[in-house]
């Protein structure tokens, strides 16, 4: 199988995150591989391993679009077990919204040839819109199987489970397909020492917009269909009254709710 996993280099949510860049874009210092993408990578590795792994010709390609630093998300993916990396990078991509991002990623996936599956996380942990997987499927004309909490592939067919609030669904599609997976699908592995050493020998291909045949005007700020016109930092929440229970804290809680007119 040839599986492409989309990985994103995102600001680490453990620190304060800021929209300091041009056009209110995200400050990408202190960035890491998006936590939700680790589930996508794990799902891909499990599918490849069940088919004999890389020795049997299975490929798990970590594809990331982003500035120079995004190569770190690819390196981490290679340490975890991806077989090769592809870094789509071009100054003209800066400021791309979901529509422009999906256009560039669709072209990159086509450039990689006969791909069986494109697997993504359920959302990026920075933009958090969940738009890109669906838009990628629409642009590639492939079946979309999103928010999968289980995934099985048998021959040219895949079966997945989707859990919504009021119902659970079983979904079937033919390959090739675009799949996004939730954090319920597996327990992602950590890179081990062997993996970290092996990653040094794996190749990372760098692609520009010219390489994938995309006109710079179709992406970045100019090619995006949405624009951020303003961004304001919310004042941080401040701590209020903290009490220690002396046997009547439940009553005091109800007094507080009554005073706030919340009963």
């Amino acid at each position: 199988m040839k599986i492409v996993v989309l990985v994103k280099h995102v600001p680490d949510a453990q620190f304060d995150r800021h929209l300091n860049g041009e056009g209110f874009t995200t400050d990408r210092d202190e960035s890491i591989l998006s936590e939700l993408d680790e589930y996508a990578l794990e799902a891909a590795l499990q599918l490849a391993e069940a088919r004999g792994g890389s020795k049997a010709g299975n490929q798990v390609i970590a594809l990331s679009m982003g500035p120079a630093g995004a190569v770190n998300a690819i390196k981490k993916s290679l340490q975890i077990g991806a077989t090769e990396g592809v870094h789509l990078t071009d100054d003209a991509l800066a400021g791309s919204d979901a529509a422009a991002t999906s256009l560039a990623l669709a072209a990159a996936v086509r450039h990689l040839g006969d791909v069986d599956l494109v697997i993504t996380g359920m959302a990026s942990t920075d933009g958090e819109t969940s738009l890109v997987p669906a838009q990628l499927a629409e642009r590639l004309g492939l079946p979309q199987v999103t928010f999968a909490s289980s995934l099985e592939v048998d021959g040219g067919r895949l079966t997945a489970r989707r859990d919504a609030d009021t119902s659970s669904e079983t979904v079937e599609a033919t390959l090739p397909a675009v799949v996004s997976v939730t954090d319920q699908i597996n327990e992602p592995r950590y890179p081990n020492f062997k993996g970290i050493i092996a990653a040094k020998r794996k190749s990372i291909t760098t692609l520009s917009l010219a390489d994938i045949g995309v006109d710079p005007a179709q992406v970045g700020f100019s090619g995006s269909w949405t624009t951020v016109t303003n961004a304001e930092q919310r004042p941080p929440r401040t701590a209020g009254t903290i009490i220690t229970d002396e046997g009547d804290a439940g009553i005091k809680l109800v007094d507080f709710l009554a005073a706030q007119k919340l009963l």
């Binding site: 942990t125 979309q144 919504a164 609030d165 951020v228 919310r234 009553i251 709710l257």
Partner: protein, 317 residues
């Protein structure tokens, strides 16, 4: 005047509050029409009139529910073109956002998700990076697609009710050929409590509940609240994953969020810190949740929650 199309998917016997919010917002932005999927019951038809809907569009086929997202987006794109819509509004559920995503590609339209308010010019307001920024976004395309978070608009019937016209739109041929098929659907057992994302009050439990969500549920029921949970509690299997609040679960912004036995790591905070009032109960005084709580109690959840539930029942009589 702008034409605004609202997508309403399988409303059943009556419109949900979030659908009424969409119709109210649509009317404030221009002439509203509805693209419906599923049965049109008498109750829903009457509500469309009360909320001033001009036209109710329905698809030419009844098999859209057999497929995932793609054919619904194809239908909605055809409906938007037929209605001449400049703005398309959907709910902010995972499926609503995905239909919006594909609709955007089909209509060459900018998509803005997680919107809490929309200006007359189509600018959407939203909160990003786990509630640390408020942003204003605008589509630069002739059509804008926006998904509206629940609980941000007060539903209000129109001053002058309408008698909506009926229209049918042809679902584009081939729109289900490359779509994933839904082969089985299992309904989940209804809890009788409000939906977590729509609820006015949420009571959430975490690791500190130590396997027993009884006190959380008892307080939630006394308050008429929804039950939420931290990832630690859902991963432990103490409560359904549907209840998870946080970065990888649901984002809620109720009037009141009561956090019980949750330390308040950044991933949990991401899902609840835009709540109006936050109350935290935890036996560890150093828990980060106390940094953002309006009212905090350092104490044992198994003492405080039952006492509060009993006191509320007493006061409510």
């Amino acid at each position: 005047m702008a034409k605004v199309l609202v997508f309403i998917d399988n409303p059943g016997a009556s419109l949900k509050k979030s659908s009424l919010e969409l119709l109210t917002l649509a009317r404030s932005l221009g002439e509203s029409a509805v693209a419906l999927n599923g049965e049109l019951s008498d109750g829903v038809a009457a509500a469309f009139g009360e909320y001033g809907v001009g036209t109710v569009i329905r698809p030419s086929t009844d098999d859209l529910d057999d497929f995932l997202v793609a054919p619904k987006a194809a239908y909605l794109a055809a409906a938007a073109e037929a209605a001449g819509a400049g703005i398309v509004l959907l709910d902010n559920s995972p499926e609503g956002k995905e239909i919006a995503a594909r609709l955007g590609i089909r209509l060459n339209a900018g998509v803005i998700t997680d919107v809490v308010a929309v200006d007359a010019d189509g600018t959407g307001h939203k909160s990003v990076l786990a509630g640390s920024y408020n942003t204003a976004c605008k589509a630069t395309t002739p059509v804008s697609v926006l998904t509206l978070k629940a609980n941000n608009v007060t539903p209000e019937p129109a001053a002058a009710p309408t008698t909506p016209e009926a229209a049918t739109v042809e679902v584009p041929a081939g729109s289900s050929t490359a779509a994933a098929r839904i082969t089985a659907r299992e309904q989940k057992v209804a809890t009788g409590r409000p939906d977590l994302t729509d609820a006015r009050i949420v009571v959430a439990g975490g690791r500190g509940m130590d396997g027993d969500f009884g006190p959380v549920e008892e307080l939630a029921d006394a308050l008429g609240a929804a039950v939420g949970a931290s990832r630690a509690a859902t991963d432990a299997g103490w409560i359904s994953h549907d209840a998870q609040v946080g970065q990888t679960g649901k984002t809620v912004s109720p009037q009141l969020y009561i956090s019980a036995g949750i330390s308040g790591a950044i991933q949990q905070k991401a899902g609840m810190q835009t709540s109006k009032v936050i109350v935290a109960i935890n036996k560890d005084a150093e828990s980060p949740v106390f940094e953002i709580a309006d009212f905090g109690i350092v104490g044992d959840v198994f003492d405080v929650l039952p006492q509060a539930a009993a006191e509320i029942k007493k006061r409510k009589g």
